[in-house]
């Protein structure tokens, strides 16, 4: 992101130093004889004996990627052709062409960190020197404004405090992706607004993400903003659904996601903030707010954030991402329009058929025991339940086949009015056997802590072309 206005270096030799650095002080007496242009980072009077330029705002150091002082650079025709860092006598001799340079000095001495990479300064320097790349409108805060309250007052939050998106924080967030800040990531419903990488980063800052989460937020956002997922409908429906994000791949460990104890709950920054960032973008960029286009009758707490990783390392099942056609080494998000999780308890179960029986009995009740085919579900199998499958040699395909076989229901039990329940299927279907789920309507995921013979199910919204289809996408840097 080097600015087009980055200062150029003069032709010849250039040396960047700071007084604070002992190696710089060691080489200082040599500099007068080099005829070099010397930039000093800290003390404008250093080094004595040669004319030095003060890199007071560290623009030279920033734009020319000075990480160590001293740095010796040779410039030809305005372009850097070679550099060496620290004191490496052979390199200095070669680059300067001065035989015997520093013959009385040790052959090697490492340099010190450049002020331009000082962790305490780097965010401010990035804002100063690269801030021009940001296009978002500036919102000025009054002296007496509490910045957290200001974010509430302007309607930017989901009801919880957000991290104020200062240019420093947003630029730091953008370090998490190789994509250009001005790239369009998606068109966000309901207002159908183009969202840039920069705008995603602004909302990711607010959600509490770290830069390494940003590619996951981008992939999840791209997924929900597809016609198949239909976030417009997911938002506008009166049902209590929102994007449920299941993450797969080695990257989930690398960013510290939780797939184990309390995976669907609180306490893990990556799980909580990736999902939250997506929802903040729908709210702030897309304009999807509760009471406006969001017409949910009840909603659910997962609409703040509902994101977790699959527990892959000891799963008896192929992962969700692999089952959906991805390589096991790929980092993948799968988005599903889902409600909150509910628990499936069976602490006595010891055989796989018994487990399938209880799963099927609970899945049958999804939304209404008499509503069929129209809704998908995620079945989150806990490790202790999964072990029962493993002991029986049941893999993903076997478990799903057993569940679907148990979820074929006589139409006579489902028609309007049957069982004293009004809803159901039309009366002419009373002689037909109907499946609770369409063939790919159960998404199996392995997650949870090591103790507890529990699983969970997450009901979906209307499926198919007029509702929402699960969408998977590979995470790219």
């Amino acid at each position: 992101m080097t600015s087009p206005t980055a200062p150029t270096l003069p032709d010849g030799l250039v040396v960047v130093v700071k007084r604070e650095c002992e190696t710089c002080r060691m080489v200082a007496p040599l500099l007068a004889d080099l005829g070099a242009t010397v930039y000093t980072q800290d003390d404008p009077t250093f080094p004595t004996g040669c004319r030095s330029l003060h890199d007071s705002d560290l623009a030279i150091s920033w734009h020319h990627d000075i990480e160590t002082v001293p740095t010796l650079i040779r410039v030809v025709g305005g372009r850097e052709v070679e550099r060496t860092v620290g004191w490496l006598r052979d390199e200095w001799v070669r680059i300067t062409g001065i035989a015997g340079l520093g013959a009385d000095l040790p052959p090697f001495r490492p340099g010190c960190g450049s002020l331009s990479v000082d962790p305490d300064r780097v965010d401010a320097l990035r804002a100063l020197h690269d801030g021009g790349t940001l296009r978002s409108r500036h919102i000025e805060l009054a002296d007496l404004d509490d910045e957290m309250e200001a974010m509430f007052d302007r309607g930017y939050t989901d009801g919880l405090p957000v991290v104020p998106p200062t240019p420093e924080r947003v630029l730091r967030m953008l370090q998490g992706t190789n994509r250009h800040p001005h790239d369009i990531v998606a068109i966000v419903p309901p207002d159908l607004v183009e969202v840039t990488v920069e705008k995603v980063a602004v909302n990711a800052v607010m959600a509490g993400c770290t830069p390494e989460y940003l590619p996951w937020v981008i992939a999840a956002l791209e997924s929900v903003c597809t016609d198949e997922f239909n976030i417009h409908g997911v938002l506008a429906t009166t049902m209590p659904v929102g994007p449920v994000i299941v993450c797969n791949g080695p990257g989930t460990k690398a960013i510290g996601m939780n797939s184990e104890g309390n995976a669907l709950g609180q306490g893990n920054r990556a799980n909580l903030t990736i999902g939250r960032a997506v929802q903040l973008i729908i709210r702030n960029v897309g304009g999807g707010r509760p009471g406006e286009v969001d017409r949910a009758t009840h909603g659910n707490p997962g609409k703040i954030s509902f994101c977790f990783a699959e527990r892959e390392h000891d799963s008896p099942f192929t992962s969700l991402a692999v089952s959906r056609g991805f390589d096991a080494t790929a980092n993948v998000v799968t988005v599903f329009a889902g409600e909150g999780p509910r628990c499936i308890v069976d602490q006595k179960v010891r055989s796989a058929p018994e487990l399938a029986n209880v799963f099927a009995a609970c899945l049958r009740t999804l939304h209404n025991p008499k509503l069929v085919i129209a809704f998908d579900a995620i079945l989150v199998v806990g490790p202790e339940h999964a072990r029962v499958c493993a002991d029986a040699g049941w893999d993903r395909e076997r478990l799903l086949a057993e569940l679907h076989a148990r979820l074929q229901i006589p139409g006579s039990e489902l028609v309007w009015g049957a069982g004293g329940i009004a809803d159901g299927v039309p009366l002419h279907l009373s002689d037909v056997t109907l499946p609770k789920f369409r063939p790919d309507g159960i998404l199996l995921v392995h997650a949870g802590g090591g103790a507890g013979l529990f699983s969970a199910m997450i009901g979906g919204w209307a499926n198919g072309a007029m509702g929402s289809q699960p969408v998977s996408r590979e995470v790219s840097p």
Binding site: S136, I139, E140, M151, D191, K199, V202
Partner: protein
């Protein structure tokens, strides 16, 4: 020192737009009726169709593929180019 944050919104600041002048008569207007595909929207629109036609308007009927998604761009374009007014039937 001035403190500021970056705007997290879509920055949609549409310029103020004046509504078109109210037509003096319905006669001679081409009025689009957009059915969003909610149940019984057609009952409402059929009745409107009758009333508008008896007032001398030409009525064109349009249907969204599904109420769960925004109207496709082509459909919006079709309505905008063929009609002078549009009425949308919202719900069941």
């Amino acid at each position: 020192m001035t403190r500021f944050v970056l705007d997290p919104t879509g920055e949609r600041t549409p310029p103020h737009r004046e509504p078109l002048p109210r037509p003096a008569t319905l006669a001679g207007q081409t009025i689009g009726l957009l059915d969003i595909s909610k149940p019984r929207g057609d009952v409402f629109l059929d009745r409107l169709h009758e009333l508008l036609t008896s007032s001398g308007a030409t009525v064109l009927r349009f249907t969204k593929p599904t109420f769960t998604k925004p109207a496709p761009v082509d459909l919006r374009h079709e309505i905008a180019t063929q009609c002078t007014m549009v009425i949308e039937a919202l719900a069941d």
